[in-house]
C-alpha cells in the first residue's frame, strides 16, 4: 500500500484550556452515561431492577452518543489536528464497533450450544463443537469444494483475459460490446438462479438442454451427477463474475503505453511473441490483483448454491457459506454454525496471508 503526497500543515495549534476542558468533559460525561445505561440494563437483564425496556436499544443509543461525543471532543481538545483526525475516526469507530465486537461475541458463541428458538438460552459447550466439527464429513466436504471452486478462477481468468484483449483490440462498437459484457455482473445472483439455473437449464424444455440434445448429448441433466452439477455451478458463477475480472484486466491493458507494443512490432515480434514477452509480463500485477479480489468474492459464494441446488446432489455443490446457512436454518443452532464460520475465517486469513507473502514479489515488479 503506497502513500501519495501528504500535506504538511504548519498551523498555530494552540487551543484554549477552557475548550480543552469542555472537550474532556464531553467525552467523559458521555462515557459515564454509557456506563450508567449499560449497568442499569444489566441489572434489568439479571432481574434485579425492572425498568420496562424490551431490548438493549438504550445502550446502543448511549453508545452512539458516546461515539459522536468522542469525535466532537477531538476537535475541541486538539483543534486543527482534531479536525484532521475527524476524517478517519468515524469510519474507524464504525468498523471496530461492527466487526470487532461481533467477532469477539462470535468467539464466545462458538463455544456454546445455543438454539435461538429455544427459551433456555446458551449453554457452555466447551470443546464439544470442535469435536463435532472434526467429525462433520459434510463440512470438510464443503471446504474441499471451496478448493475446487477457487481453482476454477484460473479458467475464468483465462477467459476474462481473452475477452479483455478482444475489447482492447481495434474494433468498432466497442462501447456496445463493453456494456453487453458487463450486464451479467449487474444481475442479482438470486434472479440468475431462476433465469438460468431453474428456467434455461430446465430438463424438459429449457433452451440449453435442447441445444445439448441437438448437439448429441442424449441425457442433458445438469444437476444429476456430482461432477456435472459442480461444473454447472462453476460455470454459472463464472458467468456472473467474468465481467468483473475482464474489466479489471481491461483497465490494466489500457494502462500499458502504446509505444511498448509498437516497439515490439517494429522489432519484428509476432503477435504471440509480443503477448508472451511484452504484454503478459506487464500485466502480472493487474492479473494478480484481479485474481485476488476475485478469490475474495469466490470465498463468499453462496447465493446461487442456496437457491439452485441447496448443496446437492449429496453435497457436491456445497460451499462453506451455504452449508452453514442450512445448518442454521435446519437446526437454528447458532453456536455450532458460528464455530464453523470462525474456523473458515482462520483458514482464509492464514491462506491469504501466505498467498500475499508469496506473491508480494510479483505484485510490484518495478520497485
Amino acid at each position: 500500500v503506497s502513500n501519495g503526497d501528504l500535506i504538511h500543515i504548519v498551523a498555530h495549534e494552540g487551543v484554549p484550556a477552557s475548550r480543552q476542558r469542555a472537550g474532556r468533559i464531553l467525552i467523559r460525561g458521555s462515557f459515564l452515561l454509557l456506563v450508567v445505561v449499560f449497568l442499569a440494563q444489566a441489572l434489568e437483564a439479571l432481574g434485579i431492577w425492572d425498568l420496562g425496556f424490551e431490548d438493549w436499544q438504550p445502550t446502543l443509543i448511549a453508545y452512539a452518543m458516546w461515539a459522536v461525543a468522542l469525535c466532537a471532543g477531538q476537535v475541541l481538545i486538539r483543534g486543527e489536528q482534531g479536525k484532521r483526525i475527524l476524517f478517519v475516526l468515524p469510519s474507524a469507530l464504525f468498523v471496530v464497533t461492527f466487526t470487532i465486537i461481533p467477532l469477539v461475541l462470535g468467539l464466545a458463541i462458538a463455544f456454546s450450544d445455543w438454539n435461538l428458538s429455544s427459551p433456555t438460552g446458551p449453554k457452555f459447550a466447551g470443546l464439544g463443537n470442535i469435536e463435532k466439527m472434526l467429525g462433520d464429513r459434510f463440512y470438510w466436504n464443503a471446504l474441499g469444494n471451496m478448493v475446487w471452486y477457487s481453482l476454477a478462477i484460473l479458467v475464468e481468468y483465462a477467459v476474462a483475459f481473452g475477452l479483455a484483449m478482444l475489447l482492447s483490440a481495434q474494433i468498432r462498437a466497442r462501447r456496445f460490446f463493453r456494456v453487453a459484457f458487463l450486464i451479467p455482473l449487474m444481475l442479482s445472483p438470486v434472479a440468475v438462479s431462476w433465469m438460468i439455473g431453474k428456467s434455461m437449464l430446465e430438463f424438459r424444455f429449457g433452451p440449453i438442454p435442447k441445444l445439448a440434445r441437438a448437439l448429441g448429448w442424449e441425457d442433458p441433466a445438469f444437476f444429476a451427477s456430482p461432477e456435472i452439477a459442480k461444473l454447472t455451478m462453476m460455470i454459472l458463477d463464472a458467468w456472473i463474475f467474468i465481467p468483473f475480472m475482464m474489466l479489471m484486466l481491461l483497465a490494466g491493458l489500457q494502462a500499458i503505453p502504446r509505444d511498448v507494443s509498437e516497439a515490439a512490432r517494429v522489432d519484428g515480434a509476432s503477435a504471440w511473441q509480443a503477448f508472451r514477452k511484452v504484454i503478459f509480463p506487464l500485466m502480472i500485477p493487474a492479473s494478480l490483483t484481479a485474481i485476488l479480489v476475485r478469490l475474495i468474492f469466490k470465498l463468499k459464494l453462496a447465493d446461487i448454491v442456496i437457491t439452485v441446488t441447496t448443496g446437492g446432489p449429496g453435497g457436491a455443490t456445497d460451499t462453506v457459506t451455504s452449508f452453514i446457512y442450512r445448518e442454521y436454518r435446519d437446526r437454528s443452532n447458532v453456536g455450532y454454525g458460528t464455530l464453523l464460520a470462525m474456523f473458515y475465517l482462520v483458514i482464509i486469513v492464514v491462506s491469504m496471508t501466505g498467498l500475499l507473502r508469496g506473491l508480494s514479489r510479483w505484485m510490484r515488479p518495478y520497485s
Partner: protein, 305 residues
Amino acid sequence: VTQAIFRDTEADRTYKARWWTSRAVIYAILILWTIVCIFPIYWTATTSFKMLQDVQLGRMIPFVDFQPSWVGWESLGLSPDTIGQVSTPRNEFVSRISNSAIVSFSASALAVFLGSITGYGLSRFGYRFGPMKNADISFFFLSQLILPPVVLALPFLVLYKELGLLDTHVGLVVLYALSVLPIVIWIMRDQFMTIPTELEEAALVDGQGVWGAFARIIVPIALPGMVAAFVLSLVLTWNEYFLASLLTSTDAKTLPVMVASQTGSQGVNWWSMAAISFAMVLPLVIVGVLLERFIIKGMSTGAVK
C-alpha cells in the same frame, strides 16, 4: 482499359486474407459472447409473456412463434388491465422493492460518505495510532474485505435480537454499509491520490479550514469517483441475499429474499417467476447501460497503479 501499375504481390494478398480472417474471428467471438451475456435476459423477458404451451414447446420469438400475453404480469398485478385494481401480489412486490431501494440507497450513501472522508484523510494527512501508521490503517480497512459475511451473520443475528434491530431497515443498512466500506475506501483513496495537493494547499493558504477545502475544492473534482463508488455499492447491496435472508422476515424483507422464497416453491408459475425476475434485474440493467462508465471506473481501481 487501364492497367494496374501497382499490383498486390503474393505476400500482400495472403496478408490481406489473414487480416480479414482475424477480423472475422474477433467479431464472431464478440458477438457469440454478447449472445451468452444477453440471451438469459431476453429469455426471461419473453417467458414472462408466454402461455404454458409456449413454454413447453420452447417457442422463442414473440409474434412469430407465439402470441404474447400478459399472463406473467397479470399474476403480479402489473399488466394493463390489472394495474387499476387492488392486487395483493403487487402490494407485496412494491413493498419488497421499496425495502430494497431504501436499504441499498441508504447503505451506499453512508458508505460513500464515510469512505470518502476516510480515503481523503488517509491520502492527505499522516496519522499515527499506537504502532499503526497510514499504510497500516489503510490495510486495516482493506483487510475487512476478506471477512466473509457468514462469519458476521450469526453473531449479528444474536446481537440484533438483543438490540431489537432484527427485521429493520437500520439493521440492514449498518451491515451493508460495513460490507461495502472497504471497497469504497479503496476507490476513494486512489481517487484522491490522483488529485494534486497544490489545490488544497492554495485554499489553506487563503484561510480555509481543512474541511472547507475538502468540501469546496476536492469533492467537486472527486465526484466521478464518488459516483463510481456509489453505483458499485448500489449493485452489491441491491443484489445481496445471504444476510437479508437471515436478518429480515416480514417488515424489512428485500426483493432477493422474496424472489428466492418463490423459486423454491413449486406452486408458483413459470410466467410469474419470469416476470418477477425480470422486474428485479431491470433496474440494474438500466443502471448498467446508463452508468457503465462509472462502474468501469470503479472496477479499474487497483488494476492500474
